[in-house]
């Protein structure tokens, strides 16, 4: 880390000497760490500017079993939330907007792997909404802030804002040190450019290592979630089974291990093979692979396009069952 700083100093110095490059001083929230109270004040001012703009899209969800949060991300009332908040598809829920006004929403789909969930508000828009971030636009170390209704909607208290940084981002989860409590679940985590980068999911025993669904999970499986499909662990257990453990990369899903006595092994898959497509649908996301495989039944056939070394090949195989 100190290398970066040293390098940066040299670069600044250089630009003074030669005038070849224009260096823009980074914002306080883009630095490795806030250095003094001026930086902290900049962060505070930015936060005070962003909260009114983003919080109007925050909703509290009232279900039979409890309370959760969510965020509206389109004028026609699509809500992102957590799978464990919506429970299953087609459930009607009460929505409370920031000012306390009520609306109805129906749960669409989601996935219990990442805990992503979607709902649709019933009724005429346009609804106040927030922008969502692009794929891979957030990184470890980024400052972020969470909004939510911990413990449920409370008019007197209002919503609650908490600040933190992304401390880990891997596969289907993002971890931050922004604090969470039950009832925050499904609420949005925003970047310092005011976009939704994740959805609150689970708390950890340590108050500063909480879990969120990264927005990437929604992007990768948007149509599945939106079309009222909810992948549960039960479905995964009963659905089709391939038998590989993968890691996401820019090229596709790299197979890290092939489990013995599985369809993947019989088909001859090897470590470091890269899965590109399943039934002609591109897969770059582990959750998407699980969704595509588990929503099929054991004995169903799939066509897998993969890359080994430099060459791309296609094969057809019959899925197995998780318990054989």
């Amino acid at each position: 880390m100190p290398h970066f700083l040293r390098c940066f100093t040299i670069f600044l110095y250089l630009s003074k000497v030669t005038g070849v490059a224009e260096v823009v001083e980074p914002h306080a929230w883009e630095k490795l760490t806030p250095e003094n109270i001026c930086d902290l004040a900049d962060i505070q001012v930015k936060l005070q500017e962003l909260v009114p703009l983003t919080s109007k899209a925050l909703v509290a969800l009232e279900t039979e079993d409890g309370a959760g949060s969510g965020v509206i991300i389109s004028p026609d009332g699509l809500i992102l939330s957590a799978a464990h908040v919506i429970g299953r598809t087609g459930v009607e829920m009460d929505v409370r907007l920031l000012d306390g006004s009520r609306a109805k929403a129906v749960s669409l789909g989601g996935s219990e792997i990442s805990d992503a969930g979607m709902l649709q508000i019933q009724g005429e828009g346009p609804w106040p909404h927030a922008e969502i971030a692009e794929m891979k636009s957030s990184n470890v170390g980024d400052w972020c802030f969470g909004l939510g209704h911990p413990g449920g909607f409370d008019m007197e208290r209002g919503m609650v804002v908490r600040i933190g940084r992304i401390i880990k981002k891997q596969d289907e989860t993002m971890q931050t040190d922004s604090r969470l409590l039950g009832g925050d679940s499904g609420g949005p985590l925003f970047s310092f450019d005011g976009r939704v980068i994740a959805i609150h999911s689970r708390i950890s025993k340590e108050p500063d290592q909480n879990f969120h669904v990264p927005i990437e999970s929604f992007h990768a499986n948007w149509d599945f979630f939106r079309n009222q499909d909810l992948l549960t662990f039960e479905e995964i257990e009963q659905g089709g089974f391939l038998g590989v453990a993968c890691e996401e990369s820019n090229q596709g899903l790299i197979i890290r291990s092939v489990l013995p006595d599985t369809p993947a092994e019989s088909a001859g898959f090897l470590e470091n093979d890269i899965i590109l497509k399943i039934d002609n649908q591109a897969v770059r996301n582990r959750e998407k692979l699980t969704i595509l495989i588990s929503t099929k039944k054991p004995e169903d056939e799939v066509i897998i396009e993969y890359q080994r070394d430099k060459s791309v090949a296609t094969l057809k195989l019959k899925l197995g069952s998780r318990f054989e």
Binding site: F11, T33, V160, V161, R165, K205
Partner: protein, 358 residues
Amino acid sequence: MNNLMVVNLIFKITLFFLIVWGTRRMSADSNQSSYLPEPFRLNGITTQDAFGQGKVRALNSTVRLLRNNKLIALGTLISPKGYVITKASSCVGARKATLQNGSTFSLKIRKRFEDIDLALYELIADKNTFACVEWTDDNLTLPVSWVFSSFIELEEIRVGIASGNPRTIGREGGVMGVMLGQDGKAVGGVEINEVVPQAAGDRAGLLAKDLILSIDGRRVFTKEQLGKLVSSKDPGDMINLEVSRKNKQRKIKVTLGHSSVTFELFNRNLQMSGPVSKRKDNFPLILQHDLPLPKEGMGGPLFNLEGKCIGINIARVDRVTTFALPTKTLLPYLKDWLPDAQNILPERITENDTEADL
């Protein structure tokens, strides 16, 4: 010539570093399996250090209150003479106080303000140069802002955000710790479905299926009636029940408990929160924030970004919620104990002005 070569060399080195930096960043993007190092986190040491002099002042103006050499609460130095305020219900039996520099003093209680759960102590010392807090009430009108407090060892601070509306926290009545079932005239009273283990009703000997007939001599036929009567009492109060068990009537005395403590076992949020303050209700005005302080961390000062004291931490509510009594609420109680009261009280804080700006 020579100069040009140096510039050229620097340029090349810079490019090299930039490329190395760039590729390291890219590889970090594609495989982000490592954690952000602790020092750079929200409560990491580099973030704490950015608070600068405010951090130093916070650590100097907070004291640790001890009973049998065990920390029971923090306190706030409000005067160079060594007057300290703290959370009254946390510091019962406090004998000694230690400061950040390790010096230890005996304590003398001077006053208790039970209504706002505040106690005032004096550090016994021939000294009137204690570092004390500087007050402001700016934060009542400032939404979403940095706050920080000393952590319990007085070596670090904890930082976070004040958010949620400043508000009154109502009184939380006593509870028996029972789940109610059937009720009504036909039933003849209110039936108990379940008794919370270790709670007030359990200790008094109430059992599931007991039918509550009356409370303090008043017949009850609905859960609502019963709830109203019980919650009109305070935790610690005793009530007299008449119950029917297997068609035999008996009298049972129940000493009521705190609802927050009683139902802790049933509340996953509280289970995950660790110990919370016993008294966290009945305050005229609070600021809410999210500093990760244990319940022994209550009673100390809460600061804004400028290092001015905006209140004292008065209740740990759950893992993300702490209440602080704001300066505006505190100062009218402390007038006689503050140094040069006239100078230090900001003009706008007067007794006639208790509702302004809210």
